[in-house]
């Protein structure tokens, strides 16, 4: 059985690495039917996706490769994920512009890490975030700004949460291509992440801070 499971996981990896969406999807379904534990499948998918992110950072992959990898990861993960209680709730959105790849990657990684993620989409404005916080009651608000023109919207969103008396109920995580740690501190965000994997680490830290006060 162990050897069989390994073969199924290798088939998923082959499909993933060759960017064969439908083959990776079929291999995931076969693995599930064969009784390969869900956590082993999701762990394999996560490792492959993180490797794709590394390849992008190293310049081996373009944004096109990363987008394809994200879609294969998503279809496999949706099939294999276990129904467990989420560790926390995050709302996420791209402020002001229609850039979505970075935000979508963070959404996928947070979901894979056990968070429930509510995606507000793109061209999100401060009032949309306030409304979503009132409706969804999240633990964390993750705000991406991908172009400099939309950077002030992060500060405006924090101000809008403050004005509505919601600021203390959530942790605010900011990120995106044009942000910095200094900027995050200046606007009073609780956390900042320079890339997707660190956004997940930061979300976990903020969740601990919220729950345990550390």
């Amino acid at each position: 059985m162990k050897q069989d499971a390994q073969q199924h996981l290798q088939a998923i990896a082959r499909g993933f690495s060759a960017f064969k969406y439908f083959e990776a999807e079929a291999a995931t379904k076969r693995a599930l039917e064969a009784g390969v534990p869900r956590e082993e499948i999701t762990r394999t998918l996560m490792a492959l996706f993180l490797e794709a992110l590394e390849f992008y950072d190293e310049g081996k992959f373009s944004i096109a490769h990363l987008t394809a990898a994200a879609s294969i990861f998503e279809v496999g993960f949706e099939l294999a994920k276990a129904e467990v209680a989420p560790k926390g709730k995050v709302i996420i959105g791209t402020l002001g512009s229609s850039h979505y790849l970075g935000k979508d990657i963070i959404r996928l990684l947070l979901t894979a890490d056990g968070f429930e993620v509510v995606d507000l989409g793109e061209i999100v404005l401060p009032d949309d975030v306030v409304e979503a916080v009132e409706r969804e009651k999240p633990d964390i608000v993750a705000l991406a700004s991908m172009i400099i023109a939309c950077l002030p919207l992060q500060a405006m969103t924090i101000g809008a949460l403050q004005a509505k008396g919601l600021r203390d109920s959530v942790q605010v995580l900011v990120g995106g291509a044009v942000t910095s740690e200094r900027w995050a501190t200046e606007i009073g965000a609780d956390g900042w992440a320079p890339d997707a994997p660190r956004a997940v680490e930061e979300a976990n830290r903020l969740l601990r801070q919220l729950r345990e006060g550390v």
Partner: protein
């Protein structure tokens, strides 16, 4: 030297001759909209208002080159591409490819639709004619469009097309060869028609050849398709006008484009400061072959800086490029919403101060 018109100035620059001043080039739908004094909901459907906004822009900010547009999706209306039109913005609501589930059949089933069959295409065409008639003797126009892969991406969705290019390249390239090549040629050639004998250049947008976007394994093929489309557009135009460019990405692949397109191009317009390609390198490598248009960071200095910082930015660009190549002072792309008027005034003043020959 007698004061030149903007058109003369820009043409001198494209022909490698020395104008009276370095040409100034930037544009903004948002500011043109503000100058027309209406909301985008009205602007997008009223050729008179589009023309008025763009004419006032040129006059107010003293640019030598005019780019008439409202958005990137109007020619895709016949495909059923839908946009949101808010008070100030137009952005896509519905493109053809599915966001979550890829499907090669969408590309295989793609059929040709006339880019000028939609209502907004007619509006844009009329607006261009008005602008050409009103100020065509004073300024140059920089009109054109993107190549076939970029147009397919606007039609299908940018992220979706990038994804599908990796997942099923045969279907994507098949759709380009079968449909989007002809569509692109018709779209760009048709966009140039309103300028008639005032057509001074064909502008080619190279969005697909940014190092971050183009998968290296497909770069040659993308370049081949872009070049074929450009040659066909030139054939259709039937006159030997210069070919200008627009490279607004953060990592423009100038070396590859120069190698691939060679003498088919006459100008590089790219984002510096801002992108990772230094102006110094561009001037050194390409200054003897192409006019170079750069020098305005529309995302940082012009948008967020002070007039003094704008002045320093212009001086820095002029110091690098003014006397070493045919140089135009240009933004990397359309200006950001909320670009302060004081900075645009400072920009025109700095061009006169540092850019007069």
């Amino acid at each position: 030297m007698a004061e030149m018109t903007g058109a003369e100035r820009y043409l001198c620059c494209l022909h490698g001759e020395r104008p009276d001043k370095v040409p100034l080039m930037h544009w903004s739908v948002d500011l043109s909209l503000a100058l027309a004094g209406v909301s985008m909901r009205e602007f997008a459907f009223d050729p008179e208002k589009i023309a008025l906004g763009h004419i006032r822009y040129v006059q107010k900010y003293k640019t030598d080159v005019c780019i008439v547009n409202t958005d990137l999706w109007w020619a895709l209306e016949p495909y059923g591409v839908e946009v949101y039109i808010t008070d100030r913005l137009i952005y896509p609501k519905k493109t053809l490819a599915d966001r979550t589930r890829p499907d090669p059949k969408i590309y295989e089933d793609l059929e040709y639709r006339d880019p000028f069959a939609g209502k907004r295409a007619e509006v844009l065409r009329k607006a261009a004619e008005i602008v050409s008639d009103e100020i065509g003797d004073k300024v140059a126009f920089k009109q054109g469009g993107y190549g076939p892969l970029s147009n397919l991406a606007l039609l299908m969705g940018v992220k979706e097309t990038l994804r599908d290019l990796i997942l099923f390249p045969e279907a994507v390239f098949g759709a380009i060869e079968r449909v989007m090549m002809d569509w692109t040629v018709d779209y760009i050639a048709g966009s140039l028609e309103p300028w008639k004998d005032r057509l001074t250049n064909i502008c080619w947008g190279f969005a697909s050849l940014d190092k971050d976007l183009a998968p290296p394994e497909f770069k040659e093929e993308i370049g081949r398709l872009e070049l074929e489309a450009l040659e066909r557009v030139r054939e259709r135009v039937g006159r030997d006008v210069p070919v200008t460019t627009h490279l607004c990405g953060p990592r423009p692949d100038l070396d590859f484009i120069a190698e691939k397109f060679g003498d088919a191009l006459d100008e590089f317009q790219f984002w510096w400061p801002g992108s990772d390609y230094p102006l110094e390198d561009a001037v050194t490598k390409f200054g003897d072959r192409y006019a170079i248009a750069a020098g305005i960071d529309h995302t940082r200095t012009l948008l967020l800086g002070s007039p003094a910082e704008v002045d320093a930015m212009v001086k820095s660009a002029m110091d690098i490029a003014k006397d070493r190549c045919s140089f135009a002072l240009s933004s990397g792309c359309e200006l950001g919403i909320g670009t302060p008027e004081g900075n645009l005034t400072a920009l025109a003043e700095a061009r006169d101060k540092y850019g007069t020959y």
